[in-house]
Symmetry: C2
Subunit: 400 residues, 2 copies
């Protein structure tokens, strides 16, 4: 609970330095290799300051010099670029059917992407085995990037459901977990003192990845998960919306009918969709949705009337749910993620029409509905890049 | 549209100064009269810096010395306090049935609170007459505070409905307005060059007032209007949620039934409530809700079964709507405003039960449902204090 007004902290020269380090890092992150002179010209910092900041960042191995200047200001051959050789960050993603590990270097280049089959649905015997599997995968990923000579800036685990600010999974219906202190369990298993381990909601981390790598020209976007549940990751003015306890974005709980009626997750979820559109599923939960989604997409592409009708209905319900979201937080872009992305071609027309019809603001308040291009591991990517974001605020890593 | 990442601006000594001015102003705002020594001790600024900052603020007449030190650190008789004598800020509030003007001095003390009967509902002939009435009231309020020797820091008008970032009312169902550039019209009418005129959503401004004066120990609150419509003003981590175009908080549009069904405003609005509970209303809109709400409260207090039943039903629907909001933005406090506040005693039990029942997070994600104590002019107060907030960030007024 935050009980006091967010008073500003007194500022001193350390803050000026951190702010200006952030200016240089973000300029290079956004613009690619640039000369000191062009950084100075673009940011308003004077050249001596840029040189001093660059010197410190080179010494810390966050920047390096390169011959490839992206512009013509300054002498050729002296451009600066982000240095990927010294640091890495790791994201892990837990879903009911698989684990994903992803690592990026400080320059944002992907170092590894591993998937592991995983039976983590609610029918299993609790989180113990899952935590061990996650810890083992995290350990392997960390070992791999260390063998490459890189220091791990941090590791973030993405989980569907309610995750509090301390890294405890309070409730994850897709995993069947309640009150699992995943951050403490993982920190204990990893035995790497000083490693920054975080746990956060899947949708929120995917939204961070979309903000940074999704190619959307906006600071106000919402990412919608379409996996074993529907959740929204909401970014407002470039910052993830955490709420008072971290429990935001639970749009799957929206009920569009009278009390006790079906929820948005029932009406517009991926599993109900494939059950409606495809024959032959038993009563047990469908955890591995990918083959069913591929099959459904193939049917739709072939013009199958049943598939198209099921997709249209799901799109309508989804649009109604997204209208509630648009009425409340007014995003500029709504990104359909996970399995929705593969079906977006057929979902979006109906969803966009219902979205526009059900918002008070004209045209859905300007919200554009787009498909994610980041694949099924967007949350793992978001978990990894969140550690780069932290360095980019001017909080440089302490060498361990 | 915000199309670029919110890159930090380079920092220099001016920013350090502004940040530290903000630290001093907010310390005094939060803690009352304090000596220079106690400010230094509480904020971490050194005494020489505090003295220098205080000198500048006294010279600008934002602070004054007082004999009333609230603590025992430092010599008695040399405490600093906010100075209300030189500056004022004005908030205006437009509702379908009345205009409200409110002014506060820089110390936050109320200088005037005026109400004017106003026939501004959708049946009237458009915004022209309304704008003239608002401009006349604004002019009178500004003249009054100037006659008291105070410079006007700014004037903000609260309007129900969609207001964009430029001060245009895009759509206000309670007023029947569409695309009214109220900011330009008012700026033109007032003929006071340099006066900072803003227009913003009623609920958002009321939320700002609640954050500052509502007595809620939180940075994550949502204010819910219960007037001629239902809107939410959402404050996240101490900042109002504006979304991409300013069109947030339209919870009145939530539909809890199948497509085309009744909205939350139909089911839980104040006007539908008084119509259900009290006989004798004609088909025309009930604009002056206060007498009806008073009557309903009196009946409920006397145990009238029909009144209690109507309030219970409205409370249930309201709680279902607030659950959608709590699932999405996870506020710590939900403030029932306007006419809801007068009826909160009977609405809250049912609403709180439905809120808890319909959120994924236990206990509604921790959201507490409380009644506003700021009365029917919370939005006007929010409009006025928003200008004090700006000074408190260290952006000192330029003397005109």
């Amino acid at each position: 609970m935050k009980t006091t007004r967010a008073d500003p902290q007194p500022a001193d020269f350390t803050d000026v330095r951190a702010t200006n380090l952030a200016v240089v890092l973000r300029h290079l992150r956004a613009n690619g290799p640039s000369s000191r002179a062009s950084i100075a010209a673009s940011t308003g910092l004077n050249k001596a300051t840029v040189s001093s900041l660059a010197g410190a960042l080179i010494e810390q191995r966050l920047l390096r010099e390169t011959g490839l200047s992206g512009n013509r200001i300054g002498r050729p051959g002296t451009a600066l670029t982000l240095d990927g050789s010294a640091y890495a960050a790791i994201g892990l993603q837990i879903a009911a059917d698989r684990l994903t590990a992803l690592a990026v270097d400080f320059a944002g280049d992907q170092l590894l992407l591993w998937h592991r089959a995983f039976d983590g649905g609610p029918a299993t015997t609790g989180p113990g085995r899952a935590v061990s599997a996650v810890a083992a995968l995290a350990q392997r990923a960390a070992t791999r990037v260390r063998q490459q000579g890189r220091q791990v800036l941090g590791l973030t685990v993405a989980v569907p459901g309610l995750v509090d600010g301390g890294g405890t999974v309070r409730l994850s219906p897709p995993l069947g977990w309640a009150d699992v202190d995943l951050r403490a369990l993982l920190s204990g298993s990893l035995r790497q003192p000083g490693l920054d381990v975080s746990v956060a909601n899947h949708a929120g981390l995917a939204a961070v990845a979309e903000l940074r790598h999704g190619g959307h020209p906006t600071l106000d976007l919402t990412y919608v998960t379409g996996a074993a549940g529907i959740e929204a990751g909401i970014v407002v003015d470039g910052r993830p919306l955490h709420g008072s306890r971290g429990f935001t974005g639970q749009i799957g709980r929206f009920s569009l009918g009278p009390a006790g009626a079906l929820t948005l997750a029932d009406l517009a979820g991926i599993e109900p969709l494939v059950r409606r559109a495809l024959p032959g599923f038993g009563p047990e939960p469908v955890t591995d949705l990918t083959p069913a989604v591929d099959h459904l997409a193939a049917l739709a592409r072939a013009g199958d009337a049943g598939a198209l009708s099921a997709l249209h209905d799901t799109g309508c319900h989804l649009g109604q749910g997204l209208a509630l979201l648009a009425n409340l937080v007014n995003p500029e872009v709504i990104v359909l993620g996970d399995h929705y992305a593969a079906l977006a071609e057929w979902l979006v027309p109906a969803a966009a029409a219902e979205l526009a019809r059900n918002t008070l603001a004209p045209s859905g308040g300007g919200a554009r509905l787009v498909a994610s291009t980041l694949g099924l591991h967007a949350a793992a990517l978001g978990g990894a890049v969140s550690h780069l974001d932290r360095v980019d605020t001017g909080v440089l890593p302490t060498n361990t």
